[in-house]
């Protein structure tokens, strides 16, 4: 591992990811502090979700190293990273369809967070409540609509007691009112000192929470820093508006 910024909870160095001839991540360097809230934007196909998958351990990088809480976790599978506190949600929700919403969350509390029965009950109920899911706790997940599936995705990740949460487009398709509730939920997570990495297309939601913004395009980080500065960056504007290579 090379020198990481001091106090970085998560750092990735020289990350490449190729699927056959297709290069999806091209030399990504990224580090963030505990409790930081980082937004990631970028056009479709920029590699945002792939980056999240590599960070969470869903797939190994083709090259590069990932460190979490100071330890090299590059070789650790997603299960182990989750147990260390690095937990993700999925862009397309992946509920356990045949289980109730409560049971979905309970699995995360008892296995991801490693809690005993009673503590796992409490944690599960707390996560459901925070995400506004208590009312549908006994519904089988396959009967939930998309909005509730997205909330369940978040509740389940929370029940695993993350120190760093990787969120993948949990705000898509929300009404303004729902988006405001989601922002409030994320702010609550920040009060609980949970670090956040959040991929989102709806920038105005993201900017209410993120104190730092990263813009990706074609597998590279093209801008990183203060959200307003990033949004004003000519390269970012050109990536979004399709201005072609400079």
């Amino acid at each position: 591992m090379n020198a990481m910024p001091n106090g970085a909870i998560l750092s990735a160095a020289g990350i490449h990811k190729r699927f056959g001839a297709l290069v999806v991540l091209d030399d990504i360097d990224f580090a963030m502090g505990a409790e930081e809230a980082v937004g990631i934007v970028g056009p479709n196909g920029a590699g945002k979700t792939t980056l999240l998958s590599v960070l969470s351990g869903a797939y190994p990088p083709s090259a590069g190293t990932i460190a979490f809480k100071g330890d090299d976790v590059t070789a650790l599978p997603a299960t182990q990273r989750c147990r260390l506190g690095l937990v993700r949600t999925h862009q397309v929700p992946k509920p356990f369809g045949g289980m109730t919403a409560f049971e979905n969350v309970f699995v995360a509390a008892s296995h991801g967070a490693g809690l005993g029965r009673d503590e796992a009950y409490e944690e599960s109920l707390g996560s459901l409540k925070l995400c506004g899911m208590l009312g549908v706790a006994n519904r089988r997940a396959e009967t939930l609509g998309l909005l509730d599936r997205k909330r369940l995705e978040l509740a389940r990740a929370l029940a695993a007691k993350p120190t760093l949460l990787l969120l993948d487009e949990i705000g898509g398709g929300l009404t303004d009112g729902e988006a405001a509730e989601l922002v409030e939920t994320i702010r609550e997570l920040r009060r609980r000192k949970i670090g956040i990495v959040w991929i989102e297309h709806i920038v105005h939601i993201l900017l209410q929470v993120a104190e730092r913004l990263i813009c990706m395009d074609a597998g590279k980080i093209i801008a990183d820093g203060d959200p307003r500065a990033v949004m004003a960056d000519p390269q970012v504007i050109s990536a979004y508006l399709g201005g072609g290579p400079k």
Partner: protein, 353 residues
């Protein structure tokens, strides 16, 4: 925030009564041979074996999502190792159970490569394993190829002692295996098993040890089916590889589970009972019996895909031997979800109105 907090319920009044009911039924079954004819005792023994087979396949496929069409490999090996052990001088009754332990041990290395396969590959791969194992067993000189052999050492016991002992062993095995399975599926490992079935990647992403959990289930199912195979040998005495390694055993397991209700604990037991009754009433009608079984399976998969118990459970909310969790909200609690979200709140917690 709210004074009263939600409560997690694991059972209902009905399920507590069902628990007593099960205990009484088992007690009555233990006493039953006093009142049953020799033929009926043999039939009941077969029923217990069917229940074991159905419960094990249901645990594997219905709860764990590991659909196998090769489970006859463990049925056949259960019988085969019992023959081998008895031939080596072990008491035949003891060899039945030592054999099942060996089957469980053998299933562990098999799981190392089979659990890398998913879905259809796993299903067919297991059948290949069964066919290969069948051929290997045929090579054993003791077995004499398809001629087969017998558990001769059982003949030192007179017929009625043998019949009763096997009956009680089958009943005890069924009870113990169902109890272990129920305990496993009801615990947090059971929740992990169902999560893996529904989405393996998501399960891994929230900290479930996917491969280890599947392996535990696979080995347990192999052990249980090994017990069933050994018990079947004890009732039949003769061992012909092609009878024991036949895919019909897995076909029966699938039939029982699909008709009874896949993924419900009660369903497998109900399915085994139905299969037993159909076999008792129509088993003598030769090929029409098999056609009838096939047609029944077809009708169920088209019209009642959740099986008998699954349908009843959904329609009437019946839960007798439930492994699930229910959240009971205190009155008015469903609107205490804080400032975070309040969609057009679904206030009831019932699945179906």
């Amino acid at each position: 925030m709210s004074a009263a907090s939600p409560v997690i319920e694991r059972g209902t009044a009905a399920s507590r009564i069902a628990g007593f009911g099960v205990a009484i039924i088992i007690l009555l079954l233990a006493l039953a041979p006093q009142f049953l004819s020799a033929g009926a005792v043999d039939r009941m023994t077969a029923l217990f074996i069917y229940v074991i087979l159905a419960a094990m396949w249901n645990a594997l496929a219905g709860f764990g999502g590991l659909v196998s069409v090769g489970q006859q490999v463990f049925f056949g090996l259960g019988a085969y190792f019992a023959i081998r052990l008895a031939n080596a001088g072990l008491n035949p009754f003891v060899s039945l159970f030592v054999s099942a332990v060996i089957v469980g041990a053998v299933s562990w290395p098999i799981s190392l490569f089979m659990l890398r396969l998913r879905n259809g590959e796993f299903a067919i791969g297991m059948w290949v394993i069964a066919a290969l194992t069948h051929l290997l067993v045929n090579l054993d000189r003791l077995i004499q190829g398809e001629t087969g052999t017998s558990l001769i050492s059982l003949n030192v016991y007179d017929a009625s002692t043998r019949r009763l002992t096997i009956y009680w062993l089958a009943l005890a095995s069924m009870t113990a295996l169902l109890a272990v399975l129920f305990g496993l599926l009801r615990g947090s490992t059971g929740a992990a098993i169902r999560a893996i079935r529904d989405n393996e990647d998501a399960a891994a992403s929230i900290g479930v040890r996917v491969t280890g959990t599947k392996r535990l289930l696979f080995v347990l199912a192999a052990f249980g089916i090994g017990v069933a195979g050994a018990l079947w040998l004890a009732t039949a005495i003769t061992f012909q590889p092609k009878t024991y390694f036949s895919v019909q055993w897995t076909a029966y397991m699938i039939f029982m589970v699909l008709v009874g209700g896949i993924g419900t604990f009660e369903g497998a037991i109900l399915g085994a009972l139905l299969f037993f009754l159909i076999e008792t009433w129509f088993g003598g009608t030769g090929v029409w019996y098999l056609i009838g079984l096939g047609a029944t399976a077809l009708v169920f998969s088209l019209l009642l895909p959740r099986g008998l118990w699954g349908t009843l459970e959904e329609r009437f909310g019946w839960r007798l031997l439930s492994v699930g969790y229910r959240v009971r909200l205190p009155v008015n609690a469903s609107d205490t979800t804080g400032g975070t979200a309040s969609p057009a709140q679904v206030t009831t917690s019932r699945e179906k109105a």
